[in-house]
Amino acid sequence: MIALRQLIAAVAKESRLILRDWHALAVLFVMPVAFVTIMSLALRDVFTERAGVTFSVLIVDQDGKLVGEKLRESFAKDKHFHVELASAPLPDAAQVEAQLTAGRYKFALLIPAKATEQARRRALEQVRSDGRASGHTPSIGMRLLSDPTLRADHRSMLVAFTNGALRAIESRLIAERIVELARTPFGSSAVSAPALAAPELFREVSDEHETGGTRTMPNPTSVQQNAPGWTLLAMFFLAIPLSVTLIKERAQGSLLRLQSMPVPTWVLFCGKIAPYLVINQLQLVLILAVGVWGLPLLGGDRLSLGNAPEAIALLSVSASLAAIGFALLIATFARTPEQATTFSATTVMVLAALGGIMVPKMVMPPAMQQLAELTPFSWGLEGFLDIFIRGGGVREILPEAARLAGFGIACFTLAILRFNGRLRHH
């Protein structure tokens, strides 16, 4: 009961301190709004450029023969693709969709079993004009599944590339069959001229993007790329004022005075967490409001928030815990406000850059993309994209939310250990 009263007093005190520093408070809200507005408007068209973009592609080759081989070769030869071949046991379509939803691949190509055998048979049927076997073998359907965060123009490009690769294989198979027929007696007269013009061994591939169920799934816009990213950056930038207040309290002696009182360390820390958690949520609401209502007024895209406000709230609180835990950890290691400010700003910017906030992960080389997966910014960004673009809900963002909250709790625990250890032994 006493601890609760102490906690309420600590929260009230911290809130007063924050509210009386209007300049710092204004920066916390103006900075992210300015970033989101400027970056969303400035980068609106940048995402349409393909140059330098690398896509990770999963090929599920159930055929294992010529068709699968040639498709793999086509993708592997193109510098814009990073090919990964699914290993046995091969995943089914549902498993592949789950991997796309999780953001592991940008798209996946599913090559059906016996595609080569079927294509050869259909090619033979197509080129024979005597009609002995014509029309019995259906054309082969490939499935191209893509990450819904992929921009529409990138998706179109992938569809075109895949169809182009299929046409090349088709030509080769038809040519082989023609040669085969030509070697038989009266072979050349048996070749069907229409088949050469439009053999149709493979059905035209169209894109199927993973929507995560029956939810509506709008196309991503620059604001959907930028708003979550800059919100996360703003949340983590809170590390600066938060760590500085703790260091100032230490320098002023008020922390020493509090430590000389029967106050548990967790009360002192939680007294700081609560007001900053509220600030983080207000930052998010403000940025989302700017994305939904403000940017369209300035000619930008409207931010689509998906259909799961409860998931946004969960992810936002988790991201906030990560940011505040990180801030407290910095505060316990830094000795001066200058150290805390410099270290916080540098670390946050590096982690943000690495986590895909400033530069989308999809334009990073594969090794960098793997490194990005280790940052809380990447977890948060993927979580928001799950909600805004992939139409995900609480279940879909649970892994990201758990990682963020876990990161925050780990930082918080380390901060308390460091704080108590430093105080008692140094």
């Binding site: 005190k13 020493l256 005075r257 029967p262 008692r424």
Partner: protein
């Protein structure tokens, strides 16, 4: 000053206390043993780096000792930290306040952190504002206060929960004589009301005027302990100091240096300071020589005149970090 009611039971018992900081060559506290009675106004004196702050931090449960034990009110500071902390009021040397809060808000906050609430908290806030004579400024932000006002508030925050033991770490640094006098009077009143006070200062005069028991500490050890008269008697008892109105002739200076009882000495133009194992005889001999040479005296003293002389005699005149 009226003699305060003194309970003879020790309130603080420190036994063999040692603190060795990580990477330090020698301990900040070196098997220090000390007992302080309830109701004492205790002065802890020492040069910078002597171990005063380490001792206070250990007493308040802020620092874990390397060895030994500290008991306050019979409770072990390490194992019963919460109990001990709730009975101690600490007034740090720094102005441990929130500048953007008002005096009332500062007092209320620290009061709540001490577990107070409701009517009791309001009463205590009002009482503390009255002690500091800050009633009229209670709702002004602390960053608009003068240094003296801040010091007064810093003091009364330590009193918000009516502690049995008040620990003050140089509470009068950097303030004007009026504010210092005000704080002294407030502390005397608290002491007379029965509060035990542990006071550290570099102002020897303060310690002489306020404290009824003093310990001089250096290199983590207690060098001297007792009331001011005891310390003056016990240290520099054989020191004779004389100031002259005219320059000392060489012949007289030779005579003084030749005195058989003088152990060490400093004899200059108008100043004489000698140490003797038989101070009464030496004092008589010096007086005789000076009278014979018809040299008028400005002052003549035997033994230490003040605490500062004792302090310097014990801790030396070498500058500290």
């Amino acid at each position: 000053m009226l003699a305060p009611p003194v309970n003879t039971a020790p309130l603080i018992e420190i036994t063999g206390l040692t603190k060795l900081y990580h990477g330090a060559q020698r301990p900040a506290l070196d098997e220090l043993t000390l007992a302080i009675r309830r109701g004492t106004f205790f002065g802890l004196l020492g040069p910078n780096g002597a171990g005063k702050s380490t001792l206070i931090s250990t007493l308040c449960g802020l620092l874990a000792p390397t060895g030994g034990s500290v008991r306050v009110f019979g409770a072990d500071v390490q194992t019963d930290a919460a109990l001990v902390k709730s009975a101690i009021g600490l007034v740090p040397q720094d102005l441990a306040l929130y500048p953007t809060l008002t005096a009332r808000e500062n007092l209320s906050f620290f009061g709540r952190m001490q577990g107070l609430g409701g009517v009791r908290l309001k009463e205590r806030v009002a009482a503390c504002l009255a002690v500091a004579r800050l009633e009229d400024l209670a709702d002004r932000r602390v960053d608009t206060y003068s240094g003296g006002l801040k010091r007064r508030l810093n003091l009364v925050i330590g009193l918000i929960h009516e502690p049995q033991l008040l620990i003050l770490d140089e509470p009068t640094v950097g303030i004007d004589p009026q504010s210092r006098n005000f704080i002294h009077e407030a502390l005397r009143t608290l002491h007379q009301a029965g509060m035990t006070i542990l006071y550290t200062t570099h102002y020897m005069e303060e310690a002489e005027n306020l404290c009824d028991d003093i310990a001089i500490i250096d290199h983590g050890k207690i060098l001297a302990r007792g009331a001011v008269p005891e310390l003056l008697r016990a240290h520099r008892a054989g020191t004779i100091v004389a100031h002259l109105d005219t320059d000392l002739p060489d012949a007289v200076a030779q005579q003084l240096r030749a005195l058989p009882q003088v152990r060490t000495g400093r004899i200059e133009a108008r100043f004489i300071e000698v140490e003797s194992d038989t101070p009464d005889a030496t004092l008589a001999a010096i007086t005789e020589i000076l009278r014979g040479a018809r040299l008028p005296l400005v002052s003549l003293s035997l033994g230490a005149m003040n605490l500062e002389q004792v302090f310097l005699a014990l801790t030396g005149t070498r500058l500290r970090d």
